[in-house]
């Protein structure tokens, strides 16, 4: 059963690399969905079924679909893949990789302490809900205000785009 975790981990890592190196935006979004679903499997195996459901519903279901709407609205044609190839020369990967690989190795070194196992106990939605609306109630309210502010901001930014589009037509 534990091999399931390693299969999901390899799938998540491979599809994430394909997202970052991709040239076609809609293909990269499909790879992003694969990556998010593999992470949802890992959440389930870690004993967090509610987080796994949220990962599928909110991340893969809502956020990626929002990306997909914008990709279709921008109407990226066949020239976009060629333009991506021109922007993305192989030499550009060298310096950022030189910065992030030491970060990765350093973090792996920090994490390599005494081996610890995860609990193997399922923490269900009920436990999450009682904590969320108990000690974390203030943070929930703040998250609600943040989402309201994002809604107003997104409406403001998108409305001008739509109204000027309509005048052109």
């Amino acid at each position: 059963m534990e091999s399931l975790f390693y299969i999901a981990a390899v799938t998540a890592l491979a599809s994430t690399v394909l997202v970052v190196t991709g040239k076609n935006a809609s293909h990269a979004l499909i790879y992003l969905i694969v990556s998010l679903l593999s992470v949802a499997v890992i959440f389930f195996l870690l004993g967090a079924p509610f987080a796994a459901a949220l990962e599928v519903v909110v991340y893969a279901g809502a956020i990626v679909v929002l990306f997909l709407f914008v990709v279709m609205m921008l109407n990226l044609g066949k020239g976009s893949v060629a333009r991506e190839s021109a922007w993305l020369r192989p030499s550009m990967w060298v310096l950022p990789s030189l910065l992030t690989v030491p970060l990765f190795l350093g973090l792996v070194y920090v994490l390599s302490g005494e081996p610890v196992q995860t609990g193997g106990v399922m923490v269900g939605p009920k436990a999450v809900g009682t904590q969320l609306f108990g000690p974390y109630l203030l943070a929930v309210e703040l998250a609600g205000i943040l989402l309201l502010a994002a809604l107003v901001g997104a409406y403001h930014l998108g409305r001008r785009y739509l109204s000027e589009r309509r005048e052109e037509v």
């Binding site: 690399v17 992003l32 990962e55 990306f67 390599s112 904590q131």
Partner: protein
């Protein structure tokens, strides 16, 4: 039914760190603003994985709660950022982040 496994915590953290570093490389390298945003999503997801793994270590709900807050943050960030992407493509007719450099001259 209990599907929860006992997985070495270090392996989950190494996966989270690897996903975070891949996303960070994407943010540094890419010029297309859509791919920069996707890489940011990957990084936030890696943070959420680390929180859920830490919550699973002590069988507490707090890790999942922090994941939910990261989820709310990611949704808010994407909504505003995609509005900015629409404005960028309308004003500069390009998705290149370097197109919006009017402030430096």
């Amino acid at each position: 039914m209990n599907f929860a496994l006992s997985i070495p915590l270090e392996h989950v953290f190494v996966l989270a760190v690897a996903l975070f570093c891949v996303g960070l490389t994407g943010v540094l390298v890419r010029r297309n603003v859509m791919f920069v945003l996707m890489s940011l999503e990957v990084m936030m997801n890696a943070c959420g994985l680390a929180f859920v793994a830490a919550g699973a270590r002590w069988a507490q709900a707090d890790g999942q709660i922090m994941f939910m807050f990261i989820l709310a943050l990611a949704a808010a960030e994407v909504a505003v950022a995609l509005g900015i992407v629409l404005q960028l493509s309308r004003r500069f007719d390009s998705l290149d982040v370097d197109a919006a450099d009017e402030m430096h001259s």
